[in-house]
Symmetry: C2
Subunit: 234 residues, 2 copies
DNA sequence: GTCGTAAGGTTTACGTTGTAAGGTAACCAT
DNA sequence: ATGGTTACCTTACAACGTAAACCTTACGAC
């Protein structure tokens, strides 16, 4: 009867699920660049080629971790219970998106993965389906809801590509000369920076609050959509 | 006197500029994946390692081509001459962004490059500086203009990350069973698709007009910003 | 029992990538 | 002439994704 349990340290059964879970952890810790088939195998106590028994190739790993994060998001937002009828749609959508954002902040590599994915993850599709449902509850026509999803874009999931980071340009130690030159070539940004540092001295660097800016942009869109909703339903 | 021009086919002087120009062309033709140091050198009639005399590494090439596209954009939008005073700011900003978009559509790899860049390209900084200038002309406070740049995000340059492509999910040949299952799991998207195909039969696939959706989202933001502008200036 | 089969894992190896190290040929001031 | 700089090439290497083949265990049929 003791024939079953013996040698003991049979390290790992190794499954598609375990592979993807490990992949997410690696990306969380070291970024996408750290996510290598060999490294992934090492973390699982196996060899690189063994992974190919559970995933077709690295691309499928990327698809898989995108979907895994999608599932994580859906688990969180499904637990939300916010009334969405009529004018309440806005709060419902807002809460949901900010909850999704919290998940994505734990996985900062996700935007880069989405950028390279052609097909859409089933979980992300599901997320959009529910979001569309909330808008329909709020009285959106199909057309308007459809436009809305496109208008939100990546913001629907809680992130947005930030191209504008004033500090990143003239970073670090700005000599007087360089700074003057910069102010001449970029008069408006220079004025903006001066205004800000005057307003809130000691914070010329890293003064952009990502969360605040995200919510500002989100509210701008949601308010605009609400106006269109009201206009179309009257 | 004829000592200078002799052997003739001295293939190329090879400069940083030529390197970047070739890099842009390769990315345009074959995507970012085709952009290899060896391929780049080959296109220039040189060897891979020769490139390192003009650029520090591949990362600098990517920085360089991003900046090159930025310059191309600035050349186009600088030629624009649209009045921006007062309420005219919106048309000015709109025209500028749509012009930038036209350039970016010729270089579809740019969003992916921006995603991986930490520091901001000088030309892109300049672009944002001018955009900010237009808003200031329109009467924006520094604070509002700053929020506006963040709210526009990548849309300021004419693109937006599309995560939502309904057709991409259940692509191709949908069997009746699969389709029914999909409709059950994604009732709202199914309803949307049905509505669309009813409205415009024969176009259940590839029915999203990117340009139209982009302009819708852009106008939504610009209209919202205009309202904030009017409220703050009254 | 034992044997065939197949699933799960490993070994080895190949082509491609970015790039470090060092060589070479041309030119230019001394 | 000569030494130094500038531009380019040759060789080489480590890391990557993954194809091909091989080993190993488990198990049902007989």
């Amino acid at each position: 009867m003791a024939a079953d349990a013996e040698v003991g340290p049979a390290r790992a059964p190794l499954s598609r699920d375990r592979v993807l879970r490990a992949a997410v952890r690696i990306a969380d810790d070291g970024g996408l660049g750290a996510l290598t088939m060999r490294r992934l195998a090492e973390d699982l106590g196996a060899e690189a080629m063994s992974l190919y028994y559970h995933v077709a190739n690295k691309d499928e790993v990327l698809d898989g971790i995108a979907d895994a994060v999608g599932r994580e998001i859906n688990e969180v937002v499904d637990a939300l219970d916010v009334p969405s009828a009529g004018p309440q749609w806005k709060q419902a959508v807002r809460r949901r998106i900010l909850a999704a954002r919290e998940v994505l902040l734990r996985h900062p590599w996700v935007p880069a993965v989405f950028e390279t994915r052609a097909a859409m993850s089933p979980e992300i599709l599901r997320y959009h389906d529910r979001l569309l449902g909330l808008m329909r509850d709020g009285g959106f026509s199909y057309d308007l809801a459809h436009h809305a999803l496109h208008a939100l874009g990546s913001r629907a999931l809680g992130f947005s590509q930030e191209l504008f980071t004033p500090a990143a340009g003239g970073g670090g130690a700005g000599d007087g000369d360089e700074l003057a030159d910069l102010a001449e070539r970029l008069p408006n940004l220079a004025g903006l920076l001066e205004h800000i540092s005057h307003d809130d001295p000691g914070s010329t660097l890293g003064w952009c609050d990502d969360q605040e800016e995200f919510e500002f942009g989100l509210d701008l869109l949601l308010d605009g959509l609400d106006r269109l909703r009201e206009r179309s339903s009257s």
